[in-house]
Amino acid sequence: EVDDVVRELRDSPNSFSKQKELLKLLRTSKIRRSDLVQEFGTKMLAKKSRLGSDVWIVIEQVLLARLDVGDIEGAKNLYFDLKNQFGKESIRVQTLLGMMYEANGDLEKARQFYTSFHSKQPMNQLIYKRRVCVEKALGNWDNAIKLLGKYLQIHTTDTNAWEELGELHVKQNNFKEASFCYEELVLLEPENFLYHTALAEVLYTLGGVDNLVTARNYYSHSLVLNKDQNLRSLYGLHTTASALANMKNGKSQENAKLLAWATSAIQGVYKGSDIEETVNSALTS
C-alpha cells in the first residue's frame, strides 16, 4: 500500500492530499520510512495552515523522522514548536527531548535523563520503553531484556513489549525464553495468526520431535486463521512436516497428509510465476 502511494506521489510530488495520505498511512501502519516522512512531511509543514488540528501530530511525526535520518537541527526547530505549544511539563514533549539526546549519540545523557524522569513518573510506559531503547542502542542486550522483563511484570498485556522481548531473546539465542513470550502473545491475542507463526518458528528452532509436532500445530492453526496471505506459515508447515517425515518418531499419516497439502498450497501460490520451476523442484527435493 505504502509503495502505491509513494508511486503516486513521485508522479505528483506536491499533491498535499497525497502527502497527507502517506503520512497518515505511515502513522497507522507504523512502517518505518523516515526518509519519506522527512521528504513529504517537510513539504506539508510549509503549508501548516492547511493541516488544521493535525498540525501537532504531523510536527511530532516529522521531528521523529528527522532524528531518524540524522537531521538533528531540523528536529530541534520542531521540538521548540511543540514545547511552546504544550509546555515543558508535557511528558510527551520531554520524551522527545530525551530522544534528541539519543539521536545525537549522547546515550549516557539520555539514560540519566530517562532514569531521573522515570523515578518521578514510574508508571509512565513511554519513558520506561525509552530506557530499554537506550540499553539496546548501547548493545547491552541482556540489560535491555532485564528491564523489559520488569516492565512486563507491571504492564502484563502490552503486546508490543512482549513482541520486543521475544525478538531480543531470539537475538541472544534464548529460544526457550522467546517461546514463552510468543506463548503469552498467543494467549493475549488468540486470533492473531502472526503470533501463532512466530511461536511455531521458535519451537522448530528448539528442535526435537515434540517441539516440531507442536510447531506443526501452530503453523496449521495460523493457516486456519489466515489461509490466503500466509506464505510464511505454508513454507513453515512444509519445512516442519518434511523434517518430521525424516525423523524416527515423527512419521505419521497425519504428517504425510499435511506435507502433501502444504506442498500443493505452495505450488498454487507460484503457478505461472517466474520462479515456479525453482519452487517446485525445491519442494519435492
Binding site: 548493545g139 531470539v170 522448530y204 510447531a215 506464505l231 510464511r232 513453515g236 523442484s281 525445491a282
Partner: protein, 177 residues
C-alpha cells in the same frame, strides 16, 4: 573479490533497513563473489532460513555458480560479528566448505569510504571464523556504483525473502540492478 551486482545488492539491502540487521547469501566461486541474495531484515529463525537455502540451491542448481557464504550488516554502528551469525555460517560452511562471511562496516557507508566498507571472515576447523581480508578487492567503479545506488534510490526496488513472504509477487531471487 566482489563483483558489482553483489556489492550493490549488499549495500542497498543495508541502506534499506538502517535500523535493523540484514542478512543474505553470497553466490559465486572461490575467486569471486558474483552475486548476493538478500534474505532477512531483523532477527530470523531456522524454518525460513532452511526454506530460503533450499530455494536458492534449487535456483542455482542449473547455473555455474554456487553458494559461497553469507553477508551481514549489524543494526548498531559498531557490531562485532554476533554469535547467531557465526552459528548460521557454521551450517553454511558445513555444506559449502569454501564459504566466507562478508560483514558490512556500518561506519563506512559513505561511498567515499568504500575501501573499508566490507570485511571478510574465513573459517578454519581449529579457530572458527576470523577476519582475513579487511580490503576486499572491489570493482574499479565502486564509488560511482555506490553513489548511483543512493541517488537512484535503488533500495526501493530491492526485495528480500522476508518481503517476499509478505508479498509473493516480489521476486527476491532476481533483483535486477
Amino acid at each position: 573479490a566482489v563483483a558489482a551486482p553483489a556489492l550493490c545488492k549488499i549495500y542497498a539491502h543495508a541502506v534499506k533497513y538502517p535500523h535493523l540487521s540484514v542478512f543474505g547469501i553470497l553466490i559465486g566461486d572461490q575467486e569471486m563473489v558474483q552475486d548476493a541474495v538478500p534474505l532477512f531484515h531483523g532477527p530470523f529463525l531456522a524454518p525460513m532460513f532452511e526454506t530460503a537455502m533450499n530455494l536458492i540451491e534449487s535456483h542455482y542448481s542449473k547455473r555455474e555458480s554456487t553458494i559461497i557464504g553469507c553477508y551481514f550488516a549489524g543494526e548498531l554502528l559498531d557490531t562485532p560479528l554476533p554469535s547467531f551469525v557465526t552459528s548460521v555460517a557454521d551450517k553454511i560452511v558445513s555444506m559449502y566448505p569454501q564459504s566466507i562471511i562478508v560483514q558490512v562496516n556500518n561506519k563506512q557507508m559513505n561511498p567515499l569510504a568504500y575501501n573499508n566498507l566490507l570485511t571478510q571472515f574465513s573459517h578454519t576447523a581449529k579457530a572458527g571464523w576470523n577476519e582475513t581480508n579487511k580490503q576486499l578487492s572491489l570493482p574499479s567503479d565502486t564509488l560511482k556504483l555506490l553513489q548511483n545506488c543512493q541517488t537512484e534510490r535503488q533500495w526501493e526496488t530491492l526485495f528480500d525473502f522476508d518481503s517476499h513472504l509478505t508479498d509473493p509477487s516480489r521476486n527476491w531471487l532476481a533483483n535486477e540492478f
